[in-house]
Subunit: 368 residues, 2 copies
Amino acid sequence: MAVNESTRTAAAARVERLREATAGAGLDAFVVTADESIAYLTGFRPLQLERLFAVVVRADGGGAVVVPKLDAGQVAEAPDSLARVSYDASSDGIPELAELLDGAARVGVEEDHIVFARSAALTSRGHELAPGGGVIFELRARKDEGEIEAVRRACGLLEAAYALVWDVLRPGMSERELNGRVASFLRDGGATDSHPVILFGENAANPHADPTDRVLREGDVVCADISACLDGYWGDLTRCATVGPPSDWVLEVWALVRDAQAASIAACVPGTPARDVETAERVILETRPDLGEVLHGAGHAIGLAIHEPPFLVPRSGMPLAHGMIFTIEPGLYRAGLGGIRLEDDVVVRDGAPEILSTLPLDLVEISL
Amino acid sequence: MAVNESTRTAAAARVERLREATAGAGLDAFVVTADESIAYLTGFRPLQLERLFAVVVRADGGGAVVVPKLDAGQVAEAPDSLARVSYDASSDGIPELAELLDGAARVGVEEDHIVFARSAALTSRGHELAPGGGVIFELRARKDEGEIEAVRRACGLLEAAYALVWDVLRPGMSERELNGRVASFLRDGGATDSHPVILFGENAANPHADPTDRVLREGDVVCADISACLDGYWGDLTRCATVGPPSDWVLEVWALVRDAQAASIAACVPGTPARDVETAERVILETRPDLGEVLHGAGHAIGLAIHEPPFLVPRSGMPLAHGMIFTIEPGLYRAGLGGIRLEDDVVVRDGAPEILSTLPLDLVEISL
């Protein structure tokens, strides 16, 4: 993430909002451990391996960023309200963390990130840990305009990648070669990370398959899911193609998925429970079980992380709010034949939802 | 990871060894959640985002691999001793996991992987969780010959990357451009992931800095750390260079680091406590505090993960054993000037330790 004064000012304000939210939740302190949450609060995105990185914010004032000594040089741009605490290779960072939590009875943690070894170490020192992921995701979920523009820029890079894909893809090219070229293109365009998953024919029936040496053949469907992280923020789009004219199956599935996507996007307005966005597309997709299977939810929030809460799944009643950005990505899959998915990144606005890319949905036809 | 019959046979044997170790540790069951541990036991390396993936092995027989429905197609090659359990988007996978643990009082977990939300959910269902990372790392740490050859192949790819680096690197090229070219080269060579961290001049004083637009200049030191994952296994090497003739500081630091590395490699014999490998290099590096600072331990085990236990740090008394593979990577760093690190991957043998690359340590001189 590029660090500059406005990033630093934004980070400082976020630390204070977290402090207020911590107090408001009846917590004495909050321990932030997820990479993206640390980036949100400090402008520094850690390289987390086995070493502890954390931001501590105390409801009674004060706080710190805790990093291995090795990374102490990386947190220079963190807000001044956070002390810098580093530990050397003789420590696992827990004693330093515990010292910052001195006297804090109830401590919020990111329950989907902090690991058992660390939560057990804090518990054994007398802290009562409370699942607080919701507290920080409540902050992270409502993106400011700077963040929305960052996702839009990431989508812009993806649009350029699609132009490349449809330009170079021809029968005989392998999934591995194509995905490699796209990853190179994205990196050359400034992406710090990317996940192109462009699958051919029957491989596209598995939305999480890895690209293989399978080469493109006449009659194949192509399901092209491309995501990339640019300046700390992710974009994630999916478009589809056929090699030669589409089959009736492809035409029917594509039209159904397009309708499902439109219905879910229309549902992306403030106050709608997350599950209703999923329902909006599923009721359409499930009208045609003969065409294929629904294998996943409607989408997920996107921002500093490629997948972050809220998730658009049946078990989530979280109401949508202004500034939230979601992938909307209905898909239908049929084993042996392939899959069709259409995905855009959509920001919830007080008015109508806004799609953060300008890429047509069109089913592309690759010439033989 | 390429799956074939020998991989499948190896995975099936590992599941049985884990079952024996689980019983031996007085546990009723083990829940494996780390990506690489799942790969070790099933040949399938998950794409873990928010969804639960796990392998359950029960001391009393039986076990399963638990995956989101979306990924059910990926575990076809897992050992037959593991049932396939998948869950759809209406579940978070915990009920399915709990059913597999029915009646198991003491359950081992990977304490450095399983997150608080999941450990708390299992605890609230009456299971007593025990930190069991040591149980599975005891298995994973002792690599078989197939695994050793896989790390050797990854190192071979890195050696080719160094040839590229020293061939193309000239004053005026930026860190970003060079690291991008290396990542492309590694991917084209089959790497599924890589972390080139090649830093110039004063940037090399921070061993974990990210590549920037800093361009190479006369008089710079270059610290080139390159790692890549090939067929599921990582290699990780570091070599150094100067632009034009090396300064006296570089020559002195390089010779000291080389001696430190030789001492640590010589200490890599069965029975040596991990901390003694670190001491072997540190006592040499610390003879010259005027030259720079020691910022990290001696290294870490490497295999399915780029960093895995045992770690060669002062707090680890773990005895080295035949088949363990470690990075040995002493370094000395001086703010404003740069850093020198030399890194090889070394397998502990009942005889002498074996270095898994053939790349000379030589300080390279880049012509102006």
